[in-house]
């Protein structure tokens, strides 16, 4: 490290050390601070060793080198006052809908996901992005993945010459990758030639399929002169489907003040299935109402029915009259033993109900069942009396509190009594 020369070998002037420290900090800033510009870095890097206050451009992070705890500035602003003042966080209200009915604010599409994005290199405005076109891929659909590098300043794609996408089962790290070269020529499922969004449209062969069925790790690989080899991960599910299908036959009824929608399922192989759908109002508004699910329902082989119940209050509160539409419907075969599941294709519009009125449904809230205190098995239950004791018995915990000083107020001056002016975040 550079150090300001001492005035004399034996006695330094008082100003020497602060100047030396300042110089060292300046060197570090020059090396590290200016090289970390990104979309979010502040432009106001003034050369100070302290970040600008939060709330200014970007709210700069502190210098990116490890800080020794002993060198913390005692004059640094404390954490926000409200973090150290005694507080009581707000508690949530009671839940008034059962587990099979949840309020829907906006439709979402099963079987899809969102772009993954990371900086290509830390010192540029380029980001690498990847998106599986379909998160749920059911044979015979191909695996389709979009890969691109964009300039965050312009939002536009940047031409690339060295790209690769590869696939393997996520739980088989020793398996060999299946590789594919993305294209930007409008072929396969590439939407538009020359838009610098590169697409892989890969159809696994019959011998490759068993290697991929399940959760598939997708890797986008981008090689550039500035970044070298950079990789970005994504995931998709590849299956033959749930070995059951919704036949298209539905029926709906109002019962006990709630809406019941039943769908016929042709089950090829017995198992456990979940049916999920979104209830919305009629066109053109298609007002979202509720998410409804029939979860982990065991079905034998043959023609069966699954039932979606929408609790009346959810419909009554929205106040939208029918006929209602059951949309974005997904059937999955679930295997709780492995955590895997096999989804079907999402059905955009599965059923339209009779023209109910919202006022026809019950306004009654749902009440969570309570367990009688006597039915709870805890540490004092006879069956638990002779179990091995905890590492720290309850009888020692007061003593531990005393030893840690938990019964004394914090040391004077450590907890501000009022919000300081200009406190930082």
């Amino acid at each position: 490290m550079a150090e300001t020369p001492a005035r004399s070998p034996r006695r330094r002037a008082p100003w020497v050390m602060p100047v030396a420290v300042g110089a060292i900090c300046l060197v570090f800033w020059l090396i590290f601070g200016s090289g970390t510009s990104s979309q979010y870095s502040p432009s106001s890097t003034s050369g100070s060793t302290k970040p600008p206050p939060i709330g200014t451009m970007g709210g700069a992070p502190p210098p990116p080198w490890p800080i020794d705890s002993q060198s913390a500035d005692p004059n640094a602003p404390q954490p926000p006052w409200d973090q150290v003042a005694l507080t009581k966080p707000p508690a949530p209200p009671p839940i008034d809908l059962p587990p099979d009915t949840q309020t829907l604010i906006e439709e979402f599409v099963p079987g899809t996901t969102e772009w993954e994005e990371v900086p290509l290199v830390e010192s540029s405005s380029l980001s690498i992005r990847i998106l599986p076109k379909r998160y749920n891929v059911v044979v015979p659909r191909p695996l389709v993945v979009y890969l691109e590098v964009i300039d965050r300043k312009t939002g536009k794609g940047v031409a690339q010459s060295n790209l690769l996408v590869r696939f393997r089962r996520v739980d088989r790290p020793d398996d060999s990758w299946i590789e594919a070269k993305p294209v930007d020529d409008g072929t396969g499922e590439d939407e538009k030639a020359g838009d610098f969004r590169y697409t892989v449209t890969y159809q696994p062969s019959p011998s490759e399929q068993p290697r991929l069925f399940g959760h598939v790790l997708v890797e986008g690989v981008v090689t550039t002169t500035e970044g070298g080899v950079r990789r970005i991960p994504a995931m998709l599910i590849y299956t033959k489907g749930p070995r059951a299908r919704l036949t298209g036959k539905w029926r709906d009824m109002r019962r006990d003040g709630h809406l019941f929608i039943e769908g016929e399922v042709e089950v090829e192989e017995p198992g456990f299935f979940t049916l999920m759908g979104q209830l919305v109002g009629p066109d053109p508004n298609r007002h979202p109402i509720a998410l409804t699910r029939d979860v982990y329902h065991q079905l034998d082989q043959g023609m069966r029915w699954m039932t979606l119940r929408v609790w009346g209050k959810a419909i009554r509160d929205i106040g939208v009259d029918g006929p209602y539409q059951l949309v974005n419907v997904l059937l999955t075969r679930d295997d709780a033993a492995t955590g895997d599941y096999e989804p079907a294709e999402t059905i955009p519009l599965a059923h339209v109900t009779q023209p109910y009125r919202a006022a026809d449904f019950s306004a009654d809230p749902w009440h969570e069942p309570t367990v009688a205190a006597n039915d709870v098995i805890g540490p004092n239950h006879p069956s638990q009396k002779d179990k091995p004791p905890p590492i720290v018995p309850e009888s020692q915990r007061d003593k531990i509190k005393d030893q840690l000083g938990a019964n004394k107020p914090p040391s004077a001056g450590s907890a501000p009594t009022a919000p300081p002016s200009g406190s930082t975040k």
């Binding site: 490890p66 800080i67 829907l104 604010i105 990789r231 599910i237 709870v376 309850e394 975040k425």
Partner: protein, 360 residues
């Protein structure tokens, strides 16, 4: 005789099937850490392998408290998050809940497999059984709260959202996630693929070695993956309120030590570096590992005390409070000795365990 053989084979198949359904992929460990008479809390740690197999963390593998405390390696001061989170100040005395921990392997398997392991271990606790091997002492608790950190939050959300273990869901009486990766973690993708990409970010975050390696668990925690699972109904559908402890955002919430020196600070500078490297804005819930919407997703912001809007999070996600503590400190309450424990009047959100103990 033939019928007998067929019958025996059928029975054997059924037995195998049932055993497979109850078996976990990787080992889990249930530990009874703190005694208490006011209830039971089960703690689920974040990303890491705390069961001693390949790639395991020696510290948390050797001690069920280790994940939740300031160790002597990094300025230990003798207290731990488990204790704060199961203590309630009644004015002149304390009352205590029990603390159990579940340790699992979050490195060598995807998060859905880890969730399975945790779920089956919880089932063993509910039933007083040991089908998974996690509960050899056959402890039984039919009602408990869950407190989870980081990836632990993702696992708990999956257990609740899938509904595959309704008996476990039924036993849960309260949930808190501290920096739970409920919508995945940007760091999981940002630090993926160290090979061929020796860069500024990855060289400075050795504490997050689990993130910097291409481990299976990490690959399953990217935002795209968790959001894809949520769109399929396997996340974001909790039928019970998940009380979210999020982060305040801002540079201080990454490198706490820069602003307020603290003994446990080994990880602080590195988390600050990660924030600076990968991108940061004052709008982020930035805590050095998770940022932007990841730990505060909700569809119904109006009725959930706020949160970050995500349409597929139709379940019950309550924005309980934001903690200035970074991703390391909101699992070990590093500031509790400086700013105090909970009292009967309140808690300090900089030490989230004090709020869990007092109000969950």
């Amino acid at each position: 005789m033939k019928k007998l053989i067929v019958a025996a084979a059928t029975v054997a198949g059924l037995v195998v099937g049932l055993a497979a359904r109850n078996a976990s992929a990787n080992p889990t460990k249930l530990d009874f850490v703190y005694g208490g008479g006011s209830g039971t809390v089960v703690f689920i740690h974040g990303h890491g392998n705390c069961v001693g197999t390949s790639g395991s963390d020696a510290r948390c593998s050797g001690d069920p408290k280790a994940y939740w405390m300031n160790s002597t390696d990094d300025g230990g001061d003798g207290h731990d998050f488990l204790d704060e989170s199961t203590s309630k100040n009644n004015g002149t005395s304390w009352s205590y809940e029990e603390a159990f921990t579940i340790r699992y392997d979050g490195v060598n398997q995807a998060m859905w497999d880890a969730a399975n392991d945790v779920a089956y271990c919880l089932r063993d606790l509910v039933n007083g059984t040991n089908a998974t091997g996690c509960n050899p002492s056959l402890y039984r608790r039919t009602s408990f709260k869950i407190v989870a950190h980081s990836e632990g939050g993702t696992l708990v959300d999956r257990i609740l959202s899938t509904g595959w273990w309704s008996d476990v869901n039924g036993a849960i009486s309260g949930i808190a996630t501290s920096s739970g990766a409920l919508a995945g973690a940007r760091s999981a993708s940002a630090l993926y693929g160290v090979d061929g990409a020796s860069n500024f970010c990855t060289t400075l975050v050795s504490w997050l070695a689990g993130w910097a390696l291409k481990d299976t668990g990490n690959a399953s925690l990217t935002r795209g993956t968790v959001l894809g699972e949520a769109n399929n109904g396997k996340a974001g559908k909790s039928p019970k309120w998940v009380n979210k402890i999020t982060t305040t955002g801002g540079g201080g919430s990454c490198n706490n030590n820069w602003y307020d020196g603290i003994a446990e600070s080994v990880n602080d500078g590195k988390m600050g570096a990660l924030c600076g490297c990968v991108g940061y804005s004052s709008d982020d819930d930035t805590d050095g590992v998770l940022w932007m919407y990841d730990n505060d997703p909700v569809a119904n912001t109006a009725n959930s005390n706020g949160g970050k809007y995500r349409s597929q999070y139709t379940g019950y996600y309550w924005h309980w409070f934001a903690s200035w503590g970074n991703h390391s400190h909101n699992r070990n309450d590093a500031y509790v000795k400086k700013y105090g424990w909970q009292t009967s009047s309140g808690c300090t959100t900089i030490s989230p365990g004090t709020c869990i103990g007092q109000y969950l």
